[in-house]
Amino acid sequence: MGMWKDFSRSYLARNPAAARTIGVAALAAAFFLALLCGLFSNAWSYEVDRICREEGSWQARVTLPLTGSALEEALTALEQFAAVDTVTPNAGLSGEGATVVELTFRHKAAAYETLDLIQTRLGLTDDQVEAHDTLLSRYLVTDPRDATPPLLLPFLLAVWGAAVLALVLLLRNAFEITMQARLHQLGLLASIGATPRQLRLCLLQEAAVLALLPLAAGTALGFGGCAAVIAAVNRAAADLPGRVPAVFRLSWPVVAVVLLTAALTVFLSAWLPARKLSRLSPLEALRGAACPAPGRRIKRRVHPLLAVCFGIRGELAGGALYARKKSLRIANVSLLLSFMGFTAMLCFFTLSDISTRQTYFERYQDAWDVMAVVSDTGLDSFSLTESLTTLPGVEDGVVYQKQEAHALLPAAAQSDPLQALGGLPALAGEDAVALGDGWLVDAPVVVLDDAAFLRYCRQAGVSPSVDGAVLLNRVWDSLHSHFRNRQYLPFVQPGTAALTLADADGTPLGELPLTGLADTPPNLREEYDSYTLALFCPQSLWTRWTREHPLPARNQTPEVCVRLLGQEGITLAQCQALQAEAAALLDDAGCTYTIENRLEERLVNDRMIRGMEQILGAFCLLLAAIGLANVFLNTLGFVGQRRREFARYLSIGMTPGELRSLFWIEAAVLALRPLVITLPLTALVVAFMLRASALDPALFLAEAPFVPVALFALLLVGSVALAYALGARRILTADLSQLLKDDTLP
């Protein structure tokens, strides 16, 4: 073995570049591997912790409608299931005559199967058995009966797996590159009688010496980087309400997996080329196996574009790229994906931001600043209307109740313009439910306190009276206008004085008198579905009417909405103060409610998008880094082979300038390919999305992410250019004529 050790050591001492290539590749691969695995495992455990914190750590719940000894028996039966780990009654959820028991399983994979067995054994109904789907799905356990199981985790796992595979291939590439350079030397060894086994051992030893330290250092740096990323995320999200900071956890199994994967890759990377090598004859190895044996089928790829643009030099550069296609694959794929991902992400966020702003924040800008929804309360039992709408700083306040209902619309009751178009089905299509000689139409009822209702009547030009409701008499003309720029037709005949409300299945409940028809709804933060008959009803009338015409049970869970609008140009602080005051009033009254303010919601929304942009952007950068590492490996590796290639060009009279231009063409192809593929594709997709969402292209162009995309492209192009400049310097500064004189090299 001593001789091999000496041979390797002296080779490495004389070829520091090869040693560096492997060292850097091992360091980079281990770093990214550790970073990715660390981030993934930490994100996963944070998510599991979050679910356990918010929903509890139970894996299944069964409700046992038993008491006394029957309950005891059932509990014992539960404990006897082999897969069941713990059985814990939950006193908080249990009521009289029914005990809720929480279960955990020894093997989570058997959770659903065991739950089925439990249900059969204890004779429970479907409602009495519940699995913790979200928690279990984080362990990749999903309900076998669920036709659409959650795919997010498998998807993330696949992405992670692809990234790990890319890193493994990166490492393997580094070995192959240096191995090619070593073929000649190994051929020499083989020619003096070294056995394949000896060659393999020699290479493996060398790989171990070169890669172990960088692997360990890269792993340590990677987990360090992971801790830093988590700390940065915590800092960035520090003021998000209700967020528990993530704690970096170094899980030893993950460290072991990283080290093992990296070490195994190094071992395989060294072993596979070594095996390939041992199949070559010493002569082939001596010649570097550069020229394939005659008669072998060789595919030739012509690059027409390159040939047209750069003539024979383009063809030569294309050929050189094609010959290195395999080792450049990671670079090509990851550069393309990183740039495409980055561009697509930014365009998507820009589009969705414009759309959200238009449809939500700007549209309701003058409708609300603070909004509270009080659940399980009707307007008649809500006593805070006065005190809420007169809070200091409130310019306009409305308290209203929303109620689902349906209305019967006889065909003849439709307005003339609507009938002229062919009636409701012509506009609504399948959304129009036929009933008798008319249609059953959704009729959302908004109940306003009488004062607010009278104000609305005056605003809408209807004679103020609390004896009837106001109908929003408009239907979207979907035949002649787009949803973003709607035109409306009158829905019903002008003189309509009452509307028959009905049950969901069309059973009439009674007639609701109308005091008038309006073109515009009151200023509320509400959307009314297309083809619905929205009704605005004074509270006194609604109370009377529902007493006479009881609504079906499922429509009897009303909620009260409080809409407060502050002064024009309200600041975030004023908004928050108003919200706090409203919340204090609601708290004092013992209400169950949710409350939000427009500016803060906007802020949280913005920050969430920015956070997502940062995470996805970082992932794109990571991909780009992997691709660029591969480009550097390729330009700085393969030096021996490339020198021979260029010596050949030199011999047929290629000038130094032409030699350099070959590098630039190669670099341009590599760096511009992601751009050339991505930009037209993105333009097409964006154009399609703009069309589909009917957004103004000028709006998008004004906010399109040109600068970040250009910067990312510049980063890619600059890095590839740097890699090639360094490679060109290493190759062209050598005395190429010396190579031509060396007869042992082909």
Partner: protein, 226 residues
């Protein structure tokens, strides 16, 4: 008329104690249309001479004139253009571009000059070298003898003043070696091509009009045949 003239050509590699003198004041003249073989033992300076003539290497001292051009004084770009247009180089290991077809390999010097090869001249050259049915093949799909023929075709494509062949049969069997030599002779006879053949094989050299023997970087004998 002289095509090539070397006077007091000297080439020293390295410095001080490790200096090696490859050419030691060599004088050589070659007439236009001559087929000259340069022979000598390994290390006698044959390949060094050839590379200086091709403008790949520069002499330490002395002067080389090829077709009136002072080759030693050329900068790298001019040297490359000189190599492309004035000399054809044939090597033992062919030095073909593996990613280009036979036809592209042959016309490469023309293509680098952005010149269109004359189809008729190309047809004649390809036919003369027996490569008609291999025009679209890649070098890797050819035998050694065929590859060397492509290399010769490439060297001749620009109708160079001087064809330099460095052990062109060194990597071939007997039959192919004879074929290649016959080809070189044909070029010389039919086209009047000036050829400088570097070899250590005396029987091969005997086929040339003139045999120049080098030893320790000097001409030790210069015989003309017949």
């Amino acid at each position: 008329m002289e095509l090539l003239q070397c006077t007091g050509l000297k080439k020293v590699y390295g410095r001080g104690d490790t200096a090696v003198c490859a050419l030691d004041g060599l004088d050589l003249t070659v007439e236009r249309g001559e087929f000259t073989a340069i022979v000598g033992a390994s290390g006698s300076g044959k390949s060094t001479l050839l590379h200086i003539l091709a403008g790949v290497d520069k002499p330490t001292a002395g002067k080389v004139l090829v077709d009136g051009v002072d080759v030693g004084a050329l900068d790298p770009t001019r040297a490359a253009l000189f190599r492309r247009r004035k000399v054809g180089l044939v090597y033992q290991f062919f030095n073909l571009i593996p990613t280009l077809t036979v036809e592209k390999n042959i016309t490469l010097p023309l293509l680098l000059d952005k010149r269109r090869p004359d189809p008729e001249a190309l047809d004649r050259l390809v036919a003369a070298l027996g490569l008609q049915d291999k025009r679209k093949a890649l070098p890797g799909q050819l035998s050694g003898g065929q590859q060397q023929r492509v290399a010769i075709a490439r060297a001749l494509c620009y109708r160079p003043a001087l064809l330099l062949a460095d052990e062109p049969t060194g990597n071939l069997d007997r039959k192919n070696s004879t074929e290649i030599l016959d080809l070189l002779r044909l070029c010389h006879r039919e086209l009047g091509q000036t050829i400088l053949l570097v070899t250590h094989d005396e029987t091969l050299a005997a086929q040339a009009d003139r045999v120049v023997t080098l030893s320790d970087g000097r001409v030790v004998s210069d015989r003309k045949r017949g």
